[in-house]
Subunit: 147 residues, 2 copies
């Protein structure tokens, strides 16, 4: 666990915010170093696959030259949606720290719990890590939208 | 419903097979026309995101210039895994025809049922469509691996 990594994910989230995107950011860490970063750019890219986590996974696979992200940890500011939770399982990320809980779409316990007996190994999940920072950013964004 | 669309998805699956990939193929249809195709190329691209469905969704978003695939149907030879089922929900595909059931990873009823009350609208799901063709292709592939 390392606060710096979540702060880096928050920096990514701020990049999304500056583009008017829902502010979510993620980093992937291997052997104590950040190897990939991503932020939500669904509107910018007009692409449903361009969430923070999938952007980071795409980059990490390129960096490692493998679809298996064994030994990698993800730090992400929001609890992953089903697509991103699935991408985390299928890429074999070993642990996930997430900030804000997502009661509506979160797939690591809030809306759905992903459980595949005899299938994927479930990563270690640490929810609510540095949640105040992560929630604050999202709250401010949605408050701005309602103005 | 149209057999031609599943046959086109099977053609995609055969492209994967020829590359030594798990043979899964998908097409996306809008207004009675195929607008995007995809096949599993996870090994070829060394990328965890390169499943048949996500490849097709990526292309369909590019074709339509939007992350919202409203009014689109997907035909896919295998029941979608969590990542792909999530990508289908988040891109708002309205219906999915899938061929073979996947007891281990399938997220439209077999291993997990995706249900998000107050969240995503669940697409119309038609499972087991032309299942013999789709299962046969997968069975032959895995039989070959065990030889």
């Amino acid at each position: 666990m390392n606060r710096e990594f979540m702060l880096a994910a928050l920096e990514e989230a701020k990049k999304a915010l500056l583009k008017g995107e829902v502010p979510v950011g993620a980093v992937i860490v291997k052997d104590g170093k950040i190897i990939a970063r991503g932020h939500n750019r669904r509107e910018e890219r007009n692409n449903a696959l361009s969430h923070a986590e999938t952007e980071a996974i795409y980059e990490a696979c390129n960096v490692l030259g493998s679809w298996r992200l064994d030994g990698c940890s993800m730090y992400v500011t929001l609890e992953p949606c089903p697509m991103c939770a699935g991408a985390i399982l299928t890429s074999r990320i070993k642990e996930v720290y997430f900030g804000a809980y997502d009661e509506k779409y979160g797939c690591f316990g809030s809306a759905v719990t992903m459980n595949f007996p005899g299938g994927f190994q479930t990563p270690r999940i640490i929810g609510g890590y540095m949640t105040d920072f992560c929630e604050g950013l999202l709250r401010d964004f949605f408050k701005g939208l309602r103005k």
